[in-house]
């Protein structure tokens, strides 16, 4: 027998899905900014003059890259409140887990970008009297960021996918709302097909754009 697909319960619940979409985008935006921003700080600390800063940064990167992000989210949600007397909402826990995880990954991206800049660029800037910080900000970072833009875009896409993990701690985003609709209407097949399709339709153009960007940068370098 063939299954008869029925999308009407989903259409009826479009408001719940829209609410989920807002939650997804909100979590994504915060984690994107925090993750990529903090990652840059970690990358700079990694090449700091001070050994302690380097060690802390390496430890952070290794730890957050070598543990699953879902474990991190659950740790912040269930374990952290034992240590600090503040309430951790699902939103906060998801932000902590996803942002720190993304920071560790993007730190390695920034580092590779900075390392790829020829020593002559540093020397030329230093030779006209620019300080190390000025050289980094004006000469090295602008070139490095351009080179790693595709890798950062990929990271952004990963962050967007990761937001679904927040449903595990009952943060209201698309997948969470889908689960809810599926449990009320007994239509998981339609629900998860539609949610998957929504993610695909949103992210795939970005994936293609990243490929195009990669090719363009490869040609101009």
């Amino acid at each position: 027998m063939t299954y008869r697909w029925d999308f009407t319960p989903l259409l009826d619940n479009w408001q719940a899905l829209a609410m989920g979409a807002v939650g997804t985008v909100r979590l994504f935006a915060v984690c994107l900014v925090l993750g990529l921003g903090f990652g840059l700080i970690v990358a700079l600390a990694r090449r700091s003059r001070w050994r302690l800063a380097r060690w802390v940064s390496i430890g952070f990167i290794e730890f957050f890259r070598n543990t699953p992000v879902l474990v991190q989210i659950l740790w912040f949600y269930f374990a952290l409140p034992m240590l600090v007397p503040v309430e951790i909402t699902p939103f906060t826990a998801a932000i902590f887990g996803i942002s720190l995880n993304s920071a560790a990954y993007s730190a390695e991206i920034y580092r590779a970008g900075i390392q790829s800049i020829e020593p002559g660029q540093w020397e030329a800037a230093r030779a006209i009297g620019m300080s190390g910080l000025q050289t980094l900000r004006r000469i090295v970072l602008p070139q490095a960021l351009r080179r790693v833009l595709p890798a950062l875009t990929n990271r952004g896409i990963e962050i967007f996918k990761m937001t679904t993990l927040a449903s595990v701690v009952a943060y209201i985003e698309l997948l969470h709302q889908g689960k809810l609709i599926a449990s009320l209407n007994f239509n998981p097949l339609e629900v998860y097909t539609v949610i998957g399709a929504l993610f695909f339709l949103f992210l795939y153009p970005l994936v293609r754009a990243t490929y195009a960007l990669e090719r363009r940068l490869a040609r101009s370098d």
Partner: protein
């Protein structure tokens, strides 16, 4: 000040270790399935035959672009409705991660195959090898060495992604940790211990991978 107490974890350490065992089993199964699936997808995509390349491309792009948790839910809750069969957490997880890692491996295979100099396949064909023979005897052996670091990285990603199965009650390390945390009211110790277990396991696996990589680099002419 919170007083740490790890004794409940020592008492139930076997639970966590059993979970870790299940994590490793699932990773191994998905790896064993994902590599051939990935190779097949890559060859199909490179075949030049539209009827093969288009579906392979679709599978690759869909599984690389959608969130793994949505995929898992689709296989666990959705697929049994189409197939009208019983679905176990293990089966759903094995299916999801086999196909998903296959999609990622496919792109690694493809990049590796494409990176082998065109002259290699031409000279293989010139001595009368078939296309398949050239791929198997000449192209793939060269490509595999180059792909190894990316494969290793993907395998580690896979192991981390398997934690998602805890949400469909497959008894992996994370699931066991969650159970134990509820049983002992010691979430801090339990989740910290679980995180450390993952960290140690994954660090060991990457170190092992780096070692193999170095060995491979030393053996034979790796250069081009």
């Amino acid at each position: 000040m919170y007083r740490w107490d790890f004794t409940p974890i020592w008492a139930h350490g076997d639970l966590l270790l059993a979970g870790l065992g299940n994590t490793l089993v699932l990773t191994a199964v998905a790896l064993a399935g994902g590599l051939p699936v990935g190779l097949a997808l890559a060859l199909a995509r490179l075949s030049g035959n539209r009827l093969m390349a288009a579906p392979a491309g679709l599978v690759i792009e869909v599984f690389r672009t959608t969130p793994p948790l949505v995929q898992l839910f689709w296989f666990y809750f959705g697929l049994p409705i189409i197939l009208n069969v019983e679905m176990t957490p293990y089966l759903a997880a094995a299916l999801t991660f086999t196909i998903q890692s296959g999609a990622f491996f496919a792109e690694i295979f493809r990049a590796g195959i494409v990176s082998v100099d065109k002259g290699q396949s031409e000279s293989a064909r010139a001595i009368g090898m078939s296309k398949a023979q050239a791929m198997r005897r000449i192209i793939l052996p060269q490509a595999v060495k180059r792909m190894f670091p990316a494969m290793m990285e993907r395998s580690i990603e896979l192991m981390k992604t398997t934690t998602l199965v805890a949400t469909v009650s497959y008894a992996d390390l994370l699931y066991q940790a969650n159970e134990l945390a509820q049983k002992t009211f010691r979430p801090l110790e339990v989740f910290t211990a679980a995180a450390l277990l993952y960290f140690v396991t994954i660090t060991l696996v990457s170190a092992l991978g780096a070692l193999v990589e170095r060995r491979m680099a030393q053996s034979g002419e790796m250069t081009r």
